[in-house]
C-alpha cells in the first residue's frame, strides 16, 4: 500500500530528532502503563496491551512490508489454543505455555508465509483469508478446542515457579514485560538494516531486487516475525483471560486488527498501540449499546479510508512537522 508512506531514506540511520521523539514517546508510554493500573481496571489494560502487541505485529507486515493480510487472526488464535491446551492439559508452567503457543504461531507463519508470499496485493490478502478460514473450520471441528465452548479454566499458574499469576498485580506486570519486550523487538526489527530493506522492497520491489536483495526472503521473514509476535499476544491473552475461544480465529478478528492499525496509523511506531487502545476501549464502554460498537467500528473504517488515511499518529506526526516515522 504505497500511498501510506512518507519519505524514508533507505540507507541512513534514523535522524536523531526522530529518534529522540520516539524515545520520548516510549518513556511516556511506559510511564502511563506503570501508573494506569492504579486508576483503571487492570484486566482492561492487559487486554489493551495484548491487542496493542497484536496490532504492532500486524503493522510490521503492512506498514513496513506493504502486505495486507486478511487472515492474521489465525496467528492470534493458534497461539491462544496451543498455549491454553499446554497449560491446562499438559500442565506446562505459564512461561513455557506461552513460548509453546508462540512457537506454534511462528511455525504456522512459516508454512502459510511460504504459500502466501508468492502472490501480491489483493491476491495475497485473499490467500491469507483462505488459509485463515480453513484453520477456523479446522478449529471448529477438532475436539481439543471444544468448539463453541473454547478451552476454559486455563490455569494462570506460577511463573518461573515463584510468581503466582493468580494475583492481578503479578499478572499485570508480567503482561507489561511481555508487551514491552515485544514492542522493543518489533521496533528493533523496523530500524535495523533488515527493516530498511523491507521498506525498500515495499517502495519499489524491482529496484530492490536489482540491487541484489531477495525480495521473497525478506517478505517471508517479515511475515514470520509478524506471525510470531501475533502469537505472543494471543498466548499471553489466553493466560490472562484463562480462555481460548473461536472468537480469536474468526475472520472478524482479522478485520479488527486491520482497523486498529489503520486508525492508529499504518507504518507508524506508536500508531498500533493508540489504535488498539481506542478500539478496545470503545468495545468496552459501548458494549451496553449493543450493535453501536459495530456501527462505530464501521464508521471509523470509512472515515479513515476517505479522509484520514494516515491514522491518528500519522496525522499528528504530519501536523507537527516530523519527516516521516521511519
Amino acid at each position: 500500500m504505497a500511498a501510506t508512506s512518507q519519505n524514508i531514506s533507505v540507507t541512513a540511520p534514523l535522524a536523531s530528532a526522530e529518534a529522540r521523539r520516539q524515545r520520548i514517546g516510549f518513556v511516556v508510554m511506559v510511564a502511563i502503563l506503570l501508573v494506569a493500573p492504579f486508576v483503571v481496571y487492570p484486566v482492561f489494560l492487559m487486554k489493551v496491551m495484548c491487542f496493542a502487541l497484536f496490532a504492532c505485529a500486524f503493522n510490521l507486515l503492512i506498514g513496513f512490508g506493504g502486505l495486507l493480510s486478511f487472515g492474521h487472526s489465525m496467528f492470534l488464535g493458534t497461539a491462544g489454543y496451543i498455549c491454553a491446551h499446554a497449560a491446562k492439559e499438559w500442565g506446562f508452567p505459564p512461561e513455557l505455555a506461552i513460548v509453546t503457543g508462540t512457537a506454534a504461531s511462528a511455525a504456522l507463519g512459516l508454512i502459510t508465509g511460504l504459500l502466501a508470499i508468492r502472490r501480491q496485493g489483493i491476491y495475497f490478502a485473499m490467500i491469507t483469508l483462505a488459509l485463515a478460514q480453513m484453520l477456523f473450520f479446522f478449529y471448529l471441528q477438532t475436539p481439543f478446542t471444544h468448539g463453541e465452548d473454547g478451552i476454559q479454566s486455563v490455569p494462570r499458574g506460577t511463573l518461573f515457579g515463584v510468581i503466582d499469576l493468580t494475583s492481578v498485580w503479578a499478572m499485570y506486570f508480567t503482561v507489561l514485560a511481555i508487551f514491552l519486550g515485544g514492542f522493543l523487538a518489533i521496533y528493533r526489527a523496523i530500524h535495523s538494516p533488515f527493516g530498511q530493506v523491507l521498506k525498500a522492497i515495499r517502495e519499489n520491489e524491482p529496484r530492490a531486487v536489482s540491487l541484489g536483495y531477495s525480495a521473497d526472503r525478506y517478505k517471508l521473514l517479515a511475515f514470520i516475525l509478524s506471525a510470531t509476535f501475533s502469537g505472543l499476544a494471543g498466548a499471553t491473552k489466553a493466560i490472562v483471560f484463562q480462555l481460548a475461544s473461536l472468537t480469536d480465529v474468526h475472520w472478524s478478528m482479522s478485520g479488527e486488527v486491520v482497523l486498529m492499525t489503520l486508525l492508529g496509523g499504518l507504518g507508524t511506531v506508536f500508531g498500533p498501540v493508540v489504535g488498539a487502545l481506542i478500539i478496545v476501549a470503545m468495545e468496552n464502554y459501548l458494549s451496553p449499546f449493543g450493535a453501536w460498537v459495530t456501527i462505530a467500528q464501521g464508521a471509523i473504517f470509512v472515515a479513515c479510508v476517505l479522509t484520514f488515511r494516515r491514522g491518528i499518529v500519522g496525522e499528528l506526526a504530519a501536523r507537527f512537522g516530523s519527516k516521516g516515522n521511519g
Binding site: 484486566v43 465452548d149 483471560f241 484463562q242 472468537t247 464502554y285 458494549s287 451496553p288
Partner: protein, 401 residues
C-alpha cells in the same frame, strides 16, 4: 466489558442506619447476564431483567432493611465476552450474584469465575447437566431445567410410545452435545436405537442437508438437540421438505413458549416436549404472567424467565436469613431452605445445586384448540419433582459424597 443498561430502573430501598445484615458495600447487586440480541434473546434476554426486577419488587427490600440493585449485560453467546463481563462485574462493579446466562458454554465459564471469586451464580437459562454434575461448584444453583431432565421427560415418553428409532440433529456446543448424550442414554435405556447423528454449527440458517440425512436414515424420530432460532429453523424447513408428511416425527428436545409463538400453531402443532413452567397452570401463574406481560411488551413468560424470578426471590430470602451476601454462604443457605414461590410451587435445592421442582410433558395445541394469545399447550403429564431430575448420586458432582 462493563455495565449497567442505561436507565435500568434500579430498585433501591432506604438503608436503615443500622444495617441488619452484613451486606458488602451496603447493596445487594444482581447482574442479569443474558443473550440480549441474538439467538436466545426471546427465551431469556430483556424478559429476564423484567423477571428479576419483579422478584426484587415482590421481595420488598425496604421491609427487610436491604438495598438491592439490578444491572444487566449482553454476553452475545460467546464465552470470552461472558467471562469478561462476569470478571469485571465481580472485580470492579461489586456485583454479588449473576443470574440467567442461557448458553451453556458461557455458563461454564461464568461458573468457574464465580467459584474463584466466591460469589453466587443463579443459573436459569443454561441447560448443561454438567453444571450440577462434574462441573458443580459450591456457588452454583441450577434452576428451571437441564439436559438430563429434558432427555428423561421427552426422550422416555416418546420412546416408550413407539418412537424407538432416533436420528439427532445437534447444535455443536456444550449444550447440544450434553442434550444429545443424555437423550441417547434415555432412548437406549428405554429400548430404542439411535440410527445416526449430525453436528451442526450454532446459528446455522440452512438445515436442508442435515434434514435430508435425517430423512434418509428412516429414523422414526428426528431429535432436535438445539434451541432457539436453530430449533425454529429446523422445524420450518422440515415442514418445507415434507418430513412429517413422509411419516417421521420431530422431537423438539428444548422448546420454549417464545419458539412456539414464533413458529405459529399451524407449524408447531403436535410437538411434544418438556417444560417446568407454563403460564396457564393455575391462578397464581396466570396472575404473575399477566403482570409480567404488561412489563414485557405483551410477551408472555418462558420458563427461563420464570426461573430467574424464582431464583432471585429465593436468593434474597436466603441473604436475609444468612445475614450476609457472601456468595458461598448464601448458596449454602439457599440449599438449607426449602423453596416456595407462586411459579414453581414448593421444592428444594440439593447439595449439588440442582433446584428440584415438578416438570410437565406438554403437547402443542392445534390452531382450532387455542382460545387466546399464548394459549398453546396441553399438559399431557406431570412428572413429580423427585423423578424429574437426575438422581443425586449419578451426577459425578464432587460435592456429593
Amino acid at each position: 466489558m462493563l455495565l449497567k443498561k442505561a436507565a435500568a430502573a434500579a430498585v433501591a430501598a432506604l438503608l436503615a442506619t443500622a444495617a441488619q445484615a452484613q451486606i458488602s458495600d451496603g447493596v445487594v447487586k444482581i447482574g442479569v447476564l443474558s443473550d440480549m440480541s441474538s439467538l436466545y434473546a426471546d427465551i431469556g434476554g430483556p424478559g429476564s431483567v423484567v423477571a428479576a426486577k419483579m422478584a426484587v419488587e415482590d421481595f420488598n427490600p425496604a421491609k427487610h432493611n436491604m438495598k438491592v440493585e439490578i444491572v444487566s449485560a449482553d454476553h452475545l453467546n460467546k464465552p470470552d465476552v461472558g467471562s469478561s463481563i462476569a470478571r469485571q462485574w465481580y472485580d470492579t462493579d461489586k456485583v454479588d450474584a449473576i443470574v440467567d446466562v442461557p448458553t451453556s458454554s458461557v455458563a461454564l465459564a461464568v461458573s468457574q469465575i464465580t467459584k474463584d471469586k466466591g460469589k453466587a451464580f443463579l443459573i436459569s437459562g443454561a441447560a448443561s447437566s454438567d453444571l450440577t454434575g462434574k462441573a458443580c461448584t459450591p456457588n452454583n444453583v441450577h434452576w428451571t431445567y437441564d439436559t438430563w431432565m429434558l432427555a428423561n421427560g421427552t426422550g422416555s415418553a416418546i420412546t416408550k410410545t413407539g418412537g424407538d428409532t432416533w436420528f439427532f440433529i445437534t447444535a455443536d456446543y456444550a449444550f447440544g452435545q450434553a442434550l444429545e448424550r443424555d437423550t441417547e442414554a434415555v432412548v437406549l435405556k428405554s429400548g430404542g436405537k439411535v440410527l445416526g447423528k449430525v453436528r451442526v454449527p450454532l446459528n446455522t440458517q440452512d438445515f436442508s442437508s442435515f434434514l435430508l440425512q435425517a430423512q434418509s436414515s428412516k429414523a422414526k424420530i428426528i431429535g432436535l438437540a438445539n434451541a432457539g432460532g436453530d430449533t425454529t429453523n429446523s422445524i420450518k424447513q422440515a415442514a418445507e421438505f415434507g418430513i412429517v408428511k413422509g411419516g417421521q416425527n420431530l422431537a423438539g428436545l428444548l422448546v420454549f413458549l417464545s419458539d412456539i409463538h414464533g413458529l405459529g400453531l399451524d407449524k408447531a402443532q403436535g410437538l411434544i416436549f418438556t417444560e417446568t413452567f407454563y403460564w396457564d397452570l393455575n391462578d397464581q401463574t396466570r396472575a404473575w404472567a399477566k403482570r409480567f406481560a404488561a412489563a414485557n411488551g405483551g410477551k408472555y413468560p418462558t420458563m427461563v424467565q420464570a426461573g430467574v424470578y424464582a431464583s432471585v426471590l429465593h436468593y434474597l430470602k436466603a441473604i436475609e436469613a444468612a445475614k450476609t451476601d457472601d456468595g458461598t454462604k448464601v448458596v449454602a443457605q439457599m440449599k438449607a431452605m426449602p423453596t416456595d414461590d407462586p411459579l414453581f410451587g414448593k421444592g428444594t435445592i440439593r447439595a449439588d445445586g440442582r433446584a428440584i421442582h415438578p416438570a410437565y410433558l406438554v403437547e402443542v395445541k392445534k390452531p382450532s384448540e387455542s382460545k387466546g394469545p399464548y394459549d398453546y399447550y396441553k399438559i399431557r403429564a406431570t412428572i413429580p419433582a423427585d423423578q424429574a431430575f437426575r438422581p443425586l448420586a449419578e451426577g459425578g458432582c464432587p460435592l456429593v459424597k
